[in-house]
Symmetry: C2
Subunit: 101 residues, 2 copies
């Protein structure tokens, strides 16, 4: 097994916590396709711009997404391939469970 101390387990739970919100997981799924600007995220998900900005800050702080300025727009993208990979691993589990019923 890999080296896991209490500190690492805490970070791990913090990391998973970020995925544990509907708004954030919807944003993550959207960004799996391609970069999207803040207002476009809000429009596509039917959310207020403020909600999106607040959640993007949480995602940014956790290094799950990274911003890129283009004129007065801000485009957000997933930070690395791991994010989508974890999303898909979880999704596979969910769909597998659903099938089982």
């Amino acid at each position: 097994m890999q080296n896991v101390n209490l500190d690492t387990l805490f970070e791990l739970s913090e990391f998973f916590r970020i995925f544990g919100d509907t708004t954030r997981i919807r944003i993550i799924q959207l960004l799996m396709e391609h970069d999207v600007s803040v207002n476009d995220i809000a429009d596509m998900l039917g959310l207020e711009q403020s909600v999106v900005s607040h959640q993007l800050r949480i995602l940014r702080t956790a290094n799950l997404v990274k911003p890129r300025r283009e004129g007065r727009k801000m485009f957000y993208a997933l930070d690395d391939e791991h994010i989508g990979e974890i999303f898909n691993t979880g999704l596979t589990h969910i769909l597998h469970k659903k099938k089982g019923k």
Copy 2:
């Protein structure tokens, strides 16, 4: 991409939320090795029995663990291999990030 509607995304976030707590992730890690009884979990993690029972209920309700009675002891085990897989995928990400610093 796989079929994902709003409902599935909600379930997915709920699923990840379970991993998003230090106590629960510690229990999960413990159960990755082998089944453990409630009091043993409490002892090994230095937690109160009540805390462990409460969190086990959450894990049980979310189908992440399953109980097995043996005498007056209850042994808990991970529900399927996916749980450990997701744990490891997340852990790999964390350790990778740490290395990068």
